[in-house]
């Protein structure tokens, strides 16, 4: 009996401990975010730093974004045609492809790919910079690591994400077109004109753009914080990298639901 009680006791204590730990982390993440914004002025005054990071996070993610978008668009074309033709409205395939990409798949899949491709790279890089005392060295040289290392990467992520998401939607639509029009034989004029008539710039395109901006902030911040907060060991950095992918993905999907419900209502 007493064994059971003590087991229950340690279970409760474990849960409490974890909860308190998570709150602490949340607090330090919020503080880290605030510092990043405060120090942003310094790094934005040196656009070269941000441009260099846009190259690493944005430009180097282009291949994976383009290839994935192309395949996602082609699959949408196939699946959409398959269902729509049952109702005799296969010309609406253009609308289906465009709306699913612009509203949802573009921003969300781009953010998930971004977290996997660029987010992990950022976390690992900053975690290793910390482990090899590069951040300490910078601090001792009277250079703030947040201004010099964190803020440029943050803004690079925030700028890259909407651009990548737009590109994703565009290439996806091309992929859908390729499957629907030349291969399946849907009428090209109907494909484009229905799309043009049904996709609203403010309701669909702008909302998708806003989503991708928010995802950019979330993914960049999570990747940077996990790297900065990682214990300076091989094990610590590897766990932090995993957490970046898991937390970014969950954050993106959760935020997507919240934003969609506001945008639709």
């Amino acid at each position: 009996m007493s064994r059971l009680l003590s087991g229950f006791d340690s279970l409760l204590r474990g849960i409490g401990h974890r909860l308190v730990d998570q709150f602490w982390r949340l607090g330090s993440a919020a503080r880290f975010f605030a510092y990043t914004l405060i120090y942003s002025g310094e790094s934005l005054r040196r656009p070269n730093l941000v441009i260099r990071e846009i190259y690493f996070t944005g430009v180097l993610s282009l291949i994976i974004i383009i290839v994935s978008a192309f395949f996602v668009g082609m699959v949408l074309g196939l699946q959409g045609y398959n269902t729509l033709q049952k109702y005799g409205s296969s010309e609406a395939i253009g609308v289906l492809v465009a709306l699913s990409l612009v509203r949802e798949l573009g921003p969300v899949v781009t953010a998930l790919l971004f977290a996997g491709r660029a987010g992990t790279a950022i976390t690992a890089q900053i975690g290793l910079m910390k482990a090899t005392e590069q951040l300490s060295a910078m601090e001792m040289m009277a250079v703030s690591p947040i201004a010099r290392v964190v803020a440029p990467r943050f803004w690079a992520g925030v700028i890259s994400m909407p651009l990548l998401a737009s590109l994703f939607s565009m290439i996806g639509i091309l992929g859908g077109y390729l499957v629907a029009v030349p291969i399946i034989g849907v009428d090209g004029g109907a494909f484009w004109s229905q799309m043009q008539a049904s996709v609203d710039f403010r309701e669909d395109v702008m909302n998708g753009f806003i989503k991708s901006c928010v995802f950019g902030v979330a993914c960049a911040m999570i990747a940077l914080f996990e790297g900065y907060d990682a214990p300076p060991t091989a094990d610590g950095v590897s766990r932090a990298t995993t957490r970046t992918v898991v937390n970014s993905s969950l954050a993106v999907l959760g935020l997507d639901f919240v934003m969609t419900s506001f945008m639709i209502s």
């Binding site: 090899t132 005392e133 590069q134 300490s136 060295a137 601090e139 001792m140 009277a142 250079v143």
Partner: protein
């Protein structure tokens, strides 16, 4: 102006209730090379971080050039740090920048010198450590000793008044060690700086430093010139200087009785 550029006064520091330093007093006179020695884990590196203001003391204070370090705000601390250069144990070179850019980094961050002047200064610093020819290499292409020398060039890039060295000899071959000893002394005298060298390499340190502090159990266990300490009869200093396995610093981590431990079997 006092004669001591750095003064540590009754300093106590610890993590989570475990005290690492219990009332340390040290002073570092201008122009001298002073070594802080002690066993691994005796808090020597932490002392450097306290001097640099990266950690705050629990009690007591560190004064750099008369200014109490932990009382300074962010801007004042940055100003104070510009007087310091620090060589980290593994060099801590920025791995995404070339040797040249690493040395140029502090100049680019803190000065608005034209590129031609930065180039001249970087070449001078690299020449002083004998690595002018390695300027285009990346840090991953350097040996341990070379990386340490580049880091040294970077640490003295802005001609600091205080240069701190964290285990500058760790993991180096004898030739590289000799080179680093020589460089520390030469740079210190050429720049008119003050050097603080944290190390546990007795032979190397005694060959070029002016004064030595021994840290043990969170306190200054002994101090003096290398000559005085070589002749010291204090048991701890004797054990350390002569590298004896057992003595006041025991070989065994505190453990229960050996025989009892073995007989208990698996029931731990």
């Amino acid at each position: 102006m006092t004669d001591n550029i750095v003064e540590i006064d009754n300093l106590s520091f610890g993590y989570g209730g475990r005290m690492l330093h219990k009332g340390i007093n040290m002073s570092f006179p201008r122009g001298k090379v002073v070594a802080i020695m002690g066993g691994s884990g005796s808090g020597k590196t932490t002392l450097l971080r306290l001097i640099g203001g990266q950690l705050k003391p629990v009690d007591g204070e560190v004064r750099v050039d008369g200014t109490v370090v932990h009382e300074q705000g962010r801007r004042e601390l940055q100003k104070l740090r510009r007087k310091m250069g620090m060589l980290f144990q593994m060099g801590a070179l920025f791995t995404d920048l070339s040797v040249y850019e690493n040395v140029a980094f502090p100049m680019r961050e803190h000065t608005s010198l034209p590129e031609s002047m930065i180039r001249d200064l970087v070449m001078m610093k690299l020449n002083a450590v004998g690595l002018r020819g390695a300027r285009d290499l990346m840090p991953t292409e350097l040996s341990g000793g070379m990386a340490r020398r580049v880091a040294l060039a970077r640490a003295v890039a802005l001609d600091p008044a205080i240069i701190m060295y964290d285990e500058p000899f760790a993991g180096l071959d004898p030739i590289s060690m000799g080179v680093i000893c020589n460089l520390i002394r030469r740079l210190n005298d050429a720049l008119g700086a003050t050097s603080i060298v944290v190390t546990h390499d007795v032979r190397e340190a005694f060959s070029f430093v002016d004064y030595v502090y021994f840290v043990a159990d969170g306190m200054v266990a002994a101090e003096g010139t290398p000559d005085e300490l070589s002749k010291s009869t204090l048991p701890f200093v004797h054990q350390f200087v002569h590298g004896e396995v057992d003595g006041p610093v025991p070989f065994h981590y505190p453990a229960p009785d050996y025989r009892g431990d073995m007989l208990r079997g698996h029931d731990v």
